[in-house]
Symmetry: C2
Subunit: 313 residues, 2 copies
Amino acid sequence: MIPKLEDIRLAYDRIKYQIHRTPILSSHSINCISGANIVFKCENFQKVGAFKFRGASNAVLSLNDSEIGNGVATHSSGNHAQAIALAAKMRGIVAYIIMPDNSPQVKKDAVAGYDAQIIFCEPNLKAREIALNKIVQKTNATFIHPYNNFNVIAGQGTAALELMEDIPDIDIIMTPVGGGGLLSGTAICAKSLNDNIQVIAGEPSGADDAYQSFKTGILQESTAPNTICDGLLTSLGSLTFEAVNLFVDDIYTVDDYYTISAMKLIWERMKIIVEPSACVTLGAILKYKEKFEGKKVGIILSGGNLDLSKLPF
Amino acid sequence: MIPKLEDIRLAYDRIKYQIHRTPILSSHSINCISGANIVFKCENFQKVGAFKFRGASNAVLSLNDSEIGNGVATHSSGNHAQAIALAAKMRGIVAYIIMPDNSPQVKKDAVAGYDAQIIFCEPNLKAREIALNKIVQKTNATFIHPYNNFNVIAGQGTAALELMEDIPDIDIIMTPVGGGGLLSGTAICAKSLNDNIQVIAGEPSGADDAYQSFKTGILQESTAPNTICDGLLTSLGSLTFEAVNLFVDDIYTVDDYYTISAMKLIWERMKIIVEPSACVTLGAILKYKEKFEGKKVGIILSGGNLDLSKLPF
């Protein structure tokens, strides 16, 4: 079952005291370059530096005391890991985090900084799942999936809730798509509030499983993804696939070239730090300019965590 | 003659319609690391990416029509150049900008983007002044000095005016010092509003002429400066030296090591882009922690313009 607008509102009431209401910025020069009228919802300024703290907070706060007594566990390439670690710390429970051993150092350090117990595994879905099952069996911790989880999706939808409250007249709302948690929550929220809004995702061409799933109607696995967007390597899950099919208008695939150009634009013109995965949306606008010309576009900038010693420019 | 608080207020009334009222941010983790309670006035989000647009706007808007008929001219290593270029463009007059030929490419591009006429010169004060005099004689343009100018200093003081209006209970206010325009305007404003506030500047150890001038009471020239802070290479002028002597409590010299650490902290924890010159203040706090412990410190982050392909980390 996927969340409804009502569930996103309930999530917001639950988490609003521990999240940041992130600012919405715009850039005159990016509007001139793109031809669109873009507002950026800056989840790079969210706690832990990414929207993931919304979903993680809602998931952790939705569990009752008996469900949560043995802590929580998850697997994540980074931002969800930090988010669960902090949400658990704030509730005073233990978090077990399965992380791929090739995660950026800055993300490993951050998770450790929130006192979570880290278990490293090889960087593939199979290894993650085996490591996770082992931990859950051993500790009886409650597994919180990074995106294929009702409460996580509802929590991620709260970014769009804030954005549409502040800027009600958006024509198009955009997010990146990896596992689809942010996209699902955003799409459910946006379409429920305004049936005329278009919901468009950006996805790296080198990891286009969501695009393939969307176009074929059959859930496709992510195999050998090849992109700079390290937060967008995973496949959709059953819940996010359902939400995407019901509420998303289109998914645009974007070569890393456009994503990196978009990232440089945001860094140089807006003076804010965003990670590559966050820039696939503006990348899509730069690639398909004519589709966005003159439109008011709301972009959810998903996060700002990256290794500063490994910039693509 | 140096400006008074009244002149800074007049400057604010003159420029407030064309500048951004920049946000004030804070970071829980930087407070934990530094032991101080720091608020950052984010002039990296100002137009042209630096506080310099305040002084340039005030100088350009203070000239009457006959003074401005032949345009304005200045020399600058970067941010003042962009600021004058944009302020002139907004008033519809021509700007002649003398720039050192080793200025960061991103700064050259920005000045050109505002339609200014650029004249390159060798990167030393002598060469700049010769090139400037030539242009002024040839064109009859009005010279606007980057910092040793009454209206420029008054304009720079408006950042502190906004900061102290938003956060009245600051114990210490800090800026970097290069030519001293921002420091002078800030010190005049802060001390006039609250005699108990401490005004402390950060200066690179490798370009410590303002520190030497302040300690000896004799204006020292900057000779062979060696620092990553490319906006802080110049010497004080007669006006800024007077203001510094009257209103500044201390100047702390900071090795680039601390400035770079501070810059990395701001980038990683606050997800905002600031240039090295802007970080010498937090660098001073990291170096002299005990002086700032438990104090409420207002830092004016001076700018965010730098070559992203040449990061110091």
